[in-house]
Amino acid sequence: MKARDLTELAVRNLREAVLRNSLTTLGVAVGVASLVAMLSLGVGLQALASQRLTRSGLFDAVFVTSQRDFRGARRPGSETSAPKKEARVLDEDARQQLAKLANVTEVYPQVRFITEVRYGGKSPTTSVLGLPDSSKGSGAFEGMTGSYFSSQIADEAILQIEFAKELTDQPATLIGKELVLRYAERAALSKESGGNGSFLEGMMGASMPGGISIVPREKTLRIVGVIESDPSAGIGGFGGARVFLPLETAEHLHVAQPDDLQAFLSGDPAKPSYMALTVRVRSPKDVPQVEAAIKQLGFSTFSLLDATKSLRLVFTVFDLFLGLFGSLALTVASLGIINTLVMAILERRREIGVLKALGATDRDVRSLFFAEAGAMGLFGGMFGVALGWLIGKALTWGTTIYLHRQDLPGVKISYVPWWLALGAIGFAIVVSLIAGLYPAARAARLNPVEALRYE
C-alpha cells in the first residue's frame, strides 16, 4: 500500500476510536511535555550561565603578558609559555599584531590607577578603570542609572554606587554633574632634557634614553551613569574599580603606571609598553587557537579554558539527567500506546481478516498499525512540545515574579530551541513506533481465516 493511503487509513482508524486514541495521544503529549520542560530548563539555565559567564569576560578572553615581565602577580603553574626563543615587549606594535590575529575581536590593556577625585568640596582617593567598548554589551551595566559612555573618547565617567554615595546622599542627582580627577601623568624625557641621565648612561651604556617624568594633572569628567552593582570581575574584567572611564580616554591621560619603570629600563620610555593585554575572541571555542597563535608570537598567555570545559561537562551531565527523568514519563506513555493498539487488534480482528482476504500483505497490516502508532507519536509529540513550551514559560514567569520580589532582575530560565522541539517530536515518534512493534507484528501474524471467523 502507498504511504499516502496508509496514512489516510491510519488517521481514519484513529478518528473512529477518538476518545481512547485521544487519551493515549494525550499520554504521549504529557510525556513529551515533561521531557521538553526538563530539557528546556537545562538548555535555558545553560544559556543563562554561558551568557553571564561569557559576558564576564572569563571565557572568551586570553590574558597576555611579556615573557620577560617581572610581574609579582605571576602564579606558578597557572600560565603557560612558549619556549623562550624571543622575549618580546608588550608594546603598541605587539597590540596591533595581536589585534590582527584570526578570531580576535578586541585587544585592550588594563588601564587602572589610583587617583584623587574632587567633587563638591570632597576629594576622596579611589581606583579608576578604563573600559573597552565591548564592556557595553557585557551585561555588567544593565539596569544602571543614567547611560553608558557616548563614545570611547568622551570625557565621561560612570561611578560605582558606593563611591557615588561618598560624594552625595542622592547618587542619582550626580548624573550630568562634573567631577575632577587629579592624577600623575607620565611624560618621556629626551636625552638632552634627561638631566641626571649621565649617571645611568655611565652605568647602563650610551643607548640609555633620557628618562621619564611624572607630572600632576587634572581632568574634568561628566558623570553619565551610576552603577548599582560591582561589574563582573574576571581575567581582564572590570571588577574592583569605583570610577570608570572610556578606555581611550583613560589611555590618553598617560597616567603613570607601575610598568613605566619597566619601559624605562627596556630602552624607550617614549614608546609605552603594557604590563598585560586582554585579547577578546569571537567565541570561547576560539580561545585555544588564539592562545597558540599568541604564544607563537613570543608572549605568555593565560585563559580559563579548562574552566569552560568543566562547565560544559557539568551541564551535559545535568541535561542528561533531566532528559532521563523527562523520558520516564514518555516511557510510561508508550505503555499506553501498546495497550491501545493491542485493544485495537482485538477489536479489529475481523477487519484485519477482511484486509488480508482483499490482498493486504503482512507488511501492509504491520505498516498500518505502525502508522497509527507513529501518528499518535506525531500528534502527541507536537502537542507535547507546545505543552512543554508553556510549562517552561510558566516556570520563567513564576521565577521572574519571585526574583522581582527579591529585588532582582528577571531571567529566562527556560528555552526551547528548534532542535529540542524537532528532537522531542522525533523522539516521541520513535518511542511510539517501538511501542507499536509488538502490536503491529501480532496483527500482521493473524491468520485471515481465523480473523474472519472472529465475532
Partner: protein
C-alpha cells in the same frame, strides 16, 4: 462448442486442524478441476468442509497436503507475499456476513482493494463508480454499511469483489444472511458477472435448489470428501 481451459486444479488436497491431541480433517483428499468461465457450486451440509475448501482455493489458507494449481501456480508453494498478491490480483471474495468495514462509506469499502493494489487515484474513482453502478448502488456510495439493507450490503460487497477485475470470484454462502428475494438478486448478479465479464465463480452454499438454478456444475462434499460432482441441467 470448445471446452474452456482448466483454471484451477486441486490435487488430493487435505486440510487438517489440530485440536489438542485430536486431528480434525476438514478437507480430505479432494481433487477438483474448475474451467475458466465456469460457475461451480460447492454444496454440502454444515461442517462438510466446503468453506475450508473455498478458503484453500482462494489462497486464504494452505493445504496440509496436496496441490492447488491456479494459472500454472501451485498455491501451496507460494510464500505469504505471493499468496497475498494472488488474492489481490486474481481473486475476488464475497462472504456470508458481507464483511464491509463499518467505519467506511460504501465507496471507501469498494475502493479498499484498489488501495491495496496501489491503483492510481485518478483511476480509482471511475472503477469504484463502475463497480457500484454494476450492482445498482451508484446513489448509495456515501452511505455507511449500517445505513444499507442486507441485500444492499451484499451487493456492495460484490462491487468490492469485482472492482479489481479478478479472474475468479469466490462466494461463501452469499445468500446465507439474505431473504429469498435479495438472495435471488445476488445470484442473478453473479450470473450476470459470469456471463458478461467471463468470470469464473465458485460459490459455497447449502441451498441445493439455488445451486441447481444458477450454477453450471455442482460438487457435493460430505465429511471433507468430494462425494459427487456433475453438471446442472
Amino acid at each position: 462448442m470448445s471446452i474452456a481451459p482448466i483454471l484451477i486444479q486441486a490435487e488430493t488436497v487435505s486440510r487438517e486442524y489440530r485440536l489438542g491431541e485430536a486431528v480434525i480433517c476438514a478437507v480430505n483428499g479432494v481433487s477438483l478441476t474448475v474451467r475458466r468461465g465456469e460457475f461451480l457450486a460447492l454444496l454440502g451440509s454444515s461442517g462438510s468442509g466446503k468453506s475450508t475448501l473455498l478458503n484453500l482455493l482462494a489462497g486464504l489458507d494452505r493445504p496440509t497436503s496436496g496441490a492447488i494449481r491456479v494459472q500454472d501456480r501451485n498455491l501451496s508453494e507460494l510464500d505469504a507475499e505471493e499468496l497475498a498478491r494472488y488474492r489481490r490480483e486474481t481473486v475476488g471474495m464475497v462472504f456470508q456476513s458481507f464483511n464491509l468495514l463499518p467505519r467506511m462509506t460504501l465507496e471507501e469499502n469498494v475502493e479498499l482493494p484498489l488501495r491495496l493494489a496501489e491503483v492510481d487515484r485518478n483511476e480509482r474513482e471511475s472503477r469504484v463508480g463502475e463497480a457500484l453502478e454494476r450492482v445498482g448502488l451508484g446513489p448509495r456510495r456515501q452511505h455507511r454499511p449500517s445505513e444499507l439493507s442486507g441485500g444492499e450490503q451484499q451487493r456492495g460487497a460484490l462491487a468490492r469483489a469485482l472492482v479489481n477485475r479478478p479472474t475468479i470470484l469466490f462466494a461463501d454462502e452469499p445468500t446465507g444472511n439474505l431473504d429469498s428475494v435479495n438472495g435471488e438478486q445476488i445470484l442473478l448478479l453473479l450470473r450476470e458477472v459470469q456471463n458478461f465479464l467471463g468470470m469464473t465463480i465458485i460459490m459455497v452454499t447449502h441451498e441445493k435448489p439455488l445451486a441447481e438454478r444458477f450454477a453450471n456444475r455442482i460438487a457435493v462434499l460430505s465429511d471433507g470428501r468430494l462425494v459427487s460432482e456433475g453438471e446442472t441441467k
